[in-house]
């Protein structure tokens, strides 16, 4: 359990957390706490803000509803795979719940361009031979760049072959600030947090 990063053994949603706080975990050092509903939501807000009193509490909803949104209305699965399966256009999210906090997921969903990791910026490369390649970088050095192209090929390009090299600043991912309701957003966050990688 890593409270600050929002990693829990027995809880996915805020409701689950409230239940664990109220009931404790028998046989462990976690006792039941007799808190009022308002006190519990205060504690939850503090946890979800990453133990930062000045932080923003992130509501974590229902992962099952989030899964449906991911594959449905939010169209996340158009570009992202989860656990290796699916499109490779955008980074795989199969273990995103183990790597990211609720706060960082919410930031990405609300303002993808601001939250975009530099390596994920879309690139457009015009080669000296006239071909144009679009894709996402995987690696880069002084003399070469490695990318996965929009048609999902692994390609290494020597910079001496490049005529124009454009690194996009705008994320191809849309913001969900208005297209999802706050509750739906919390459900998607809950689903993403549930993606912990392949468990054998």
């Amino acid at each position: 359990v890593d409270l600050r990063r929002g990693r829990f053994k027995r809880a996915a949603s805020d409701e689950d957390l409230a239940r664990v706080i109220g009931a404790g975990v028998p046989g462990t050092g976690m006792p039941p706490f007799a808190l009022q509903p308002a006190e519990i939501s205060g504690v939850l807000a503090f946890i979800r803000a990453g133990f930062d009193p000045a932080g923003t509490a992130v509501k974590v909803g229902d992962p099952e509803r989030g899964r449906a949104l991911f594959h449905g209305k939010a169209r996340c699965a158009t570009c992202h795979s989860t656990g290796g399966l699916g499109p490779r256009l955008a980074p795989d999210l199969g273990d995103v719940g183990a790597a990211r906090t609720p706060g960082s997921l919410q930031r990405t969903l609300l303002d993808p361009t601001a939250a975009m990791l530099p390596i994920n910026r879309p690139v457009r490369i015009a080669l000296r031979d006239g071909a144009t390649i679009r894709g996402r970088r995987l690696n880069e050095d002084t003399y070469s760049v490695q990318l996965i192209t929009d048609d999902e090929r692994l390609l290494s390009i020597a910079k001496t072959d490049v005529r124009e090299y454009e690194v996009g600043k705008t994320s191809p991912m849309p913001s969900y600030a208005t297209s999802l309701t706050p509750d739906e957003l919390s459900d998607v966050i809950a689903y993403l947090l549930s993606l912990k990688g392949l468990q054998p």
Partner: protein, 550 residues
């Protein structure tokens, strides 16, 4: 079926349907690997495991113009036994313990790394080794130290499935590169020093689900079980830790089986101990045993038969024959009929004193040495797991050998405890005096103070028809390097000293060498990208790739 169950079933179907075995590398491409020598598609370069390339840009006249094109530095410490594969310009290689890297084969720059976390319960006798991945469709397959089989997406390195094959706590492990046959991934398990019961399994490439399992130690009621006494079979060993071969016409897959347990005390396991130290020929669809040949019955020397089976079609005593060539750890070079397993010949390729020859059925006539006397070859063998090569042009078989190397064995009673070493004795290397440093698994360091008095390495060129040695290339230290031969009669190999050699495959003459500085503990490969032929070899912690000067 409830609604959620219906949805779950539909989801599973969709998931299964999305695994494409007709992706980048089809089974047909693997079958015809020889027709695309620009790629190196399997561990041994093709199903017959000849480790021979048709690429001809580098030849004896220009090999001196090879220059280093790029180096990939390993991220971890320890012997690097992996053999890369190359597919359409992308190289896939593993590093310790179970990381997979995808890199640009032209520049060595990395596309992605997959890092696998090995269970803390894993235990292996001889190093956290992995020898590489296999490919089918758009999926890579890796066998792990904690005895899992993992499937990865070739483009992203993300895991698709992960199945457990054996309990690492009792010594099951995997270090080999898998072999793809049709839609199955075939692997075997290590753990022969821990009293495992070895097996070969085939798994559905889409899901990892086990399709068949062949136990290398037959259980009650199975043929061969009567070669064991009492319960000895339960801890009989028979590990399978080097990749097998496949004959698509016979639909047989051939696998070398490791030592019996306990290693050095045959008194605890009277009988021949099938199928340890054997080659087994299995039906590729069912895993059913078609034939076997046992090289070292009731082994007391740790003579694992985990060499790569080399499949060759050539004339044999007057007619065309489907042969299997096998230089064994026990010091004999064998020719077998791979249709039925019949013993055709066995010739020592170094000093051998554990057997004096063969009876008419091809069974070795064993001559165990008295207690305290040396046995040739020694414990690490006259050769071992590293890949030999066969050139259809020279019709010679090439093997890295340890010569003038002997050990003195001792046996001890050992009781089986799950997960504990189950060796039943030990050995010491024959040396000029008791204080002399000797050779073992891996090089001791850059200063050779053990010298060739405790054994040395050599590349031997053997004529399969006669068993005769055509030439020999001596090295001062021993070698664990595999061998690559080419259609231009070049032979590439290395050794513990860190030299990478190009020899004339017809004469053994040294044509070129590079001092790479780290021990070379697996075979070189060759491939071509954008019209240029490359040769890659791993030395120490570096994967070094050469090509002709521009």
């Amino acid at each position: 079926m409830t609604k959620p169950m219906q949805w779950a079933a539909l989801l599973i179907l969709l998931v299964l349907a999305s695994y494409r075995l007709d992706g980048q590398v089809t089974f047909n491409r693997l079958l015809r690997a020889a027709e695309e020598p620009q790629n190196w598609l399997t561990y041994s370069g093709g199903y017959s495991s000849q480790r021979y390339t048709l690429l001809a840009q580098i030849d004896p006249s220009n090999v001196k113009d090879l220059e280093q094109k790029w180096v990939l530095q390993n991220q971890v410490y320890g012997a690097w036994q992996s053999s890369p594969i190359v597919v359409d310009g992308v190289m896939y290689v593993t590093e310790r313990p179970n990381d997979v890297l995808a890199l640009d084969a032209k520049t060595g720059r990395v596309f992605w790394i997959y890092r696998y976390t090995v269970s803390p319960d894993q235990r292996v006798c001889c190093g956290a080794n992995n020898r590489g991945v296999a490919i089918l469709g758009d999926t890579l397959f890796m066998a792990t130290l904690d005895a899992h089989l993992v499937a990865l997406d070739t483009r992203t390195g993300r895991p698709l499935w992960n199945v457990a094959l054996g309990d690492p706590k009792v010594g099951y492990s995997m270090t080999l590169s898998p072999l793809i046959i049709k839609d199955k991934v075939v692997v075997g398990v290590g753990g022969g020093e821990y009293g495992i019961r070895g097996f070969v399994t085939a798994h559905d490439a889409r899901s990892g689900k086990e399709a068949w399992r062949f136990y290398t130690i037959p259980g009650p009621g199975e043929p061969g079980h009567d070669t064991w006494s009492g319960d000895a079979w339960k801890t009989g060993g028979g590990s399978v830790w080097v990749t097998g071969s496949y004959d698509p016409v016979l639909n047989l897959t051939y696998w070398g089986v490791g030592n019996p347990g306990p290693d050095w005390n045959p008194d605890q396991r009277p009988g021949d101990n099938l199928y340890t130290d054997s080659v087994v020929a299995l039906d590729a669809d069912t895993g059913a045993l078609k034939w076997h040949y046992q090289f070292t019955p009731n082994d007391r020397y740790d003579y694992d038969s985990v060499q790569v089976p080399v499949l060759v079609d050539m004339n044999w005593r007057g007619g065309p024959a489907k042969l299997m060539l096998w230089a064994n750890r026990n010091g004999f070079f064998y020719v077998l009929d791979r249709v039925n397993g019949r013993f055709l010949s066995g010739t020592p390729f170094g000093k051998v004193n554990w057997a004096s020859g063969f009876d008419e059925a091809g069974r070795p006539i064993q001559t165990p040495q008295p207690a305290g006397a040396p046995t040739w070859p020694g414990n690490q063998g006259a050769t071992n797991w590293y890949s030999p090569s066969y050139s259809p042009r020279t019709e010679l078989f090439y093997v890295s050998a340890w010569l003038n190397y002997a050990t003195i064995y001792r046996k001890e009673e050992v009781s089986y405890q799950p997960g504990r070493n189950f060796s039943g004795g030990g050995f010491r290397v024959l040396a000029p005096n008791p204080d002399a440093p000797t050779i073992g698994i891996g090089r001791r360091g850059p200063i050779n103070n053990w010298t060739d008095e405790v054994g040395h390495g050599a590349i031997l060129a053997l004529d399969p028809r006669t068993g005769e040695q055509k030439w020999k290339f001596d090295q001062f230290d021993v070698t664990d390097s595999g061998i690559l031969t080419t259609a231009t009669d070049l032979l590439f190999t290395g050794g513990r000293e860190g030299y990478f050699h190009a020899l004339d495959a017809r004469t053994g003459a040294l044509l070129w060498k590079a001092s790479l500085g780290g021990q070379i503990v697996n075979g070189p490969i060759s491939y071509q990208v954008d019209g240029k032929q490359y040769v890659s070899v791993i030395s120490g912690n570096s994967l070094v790739t050469f090509a002709l000067r521009n």
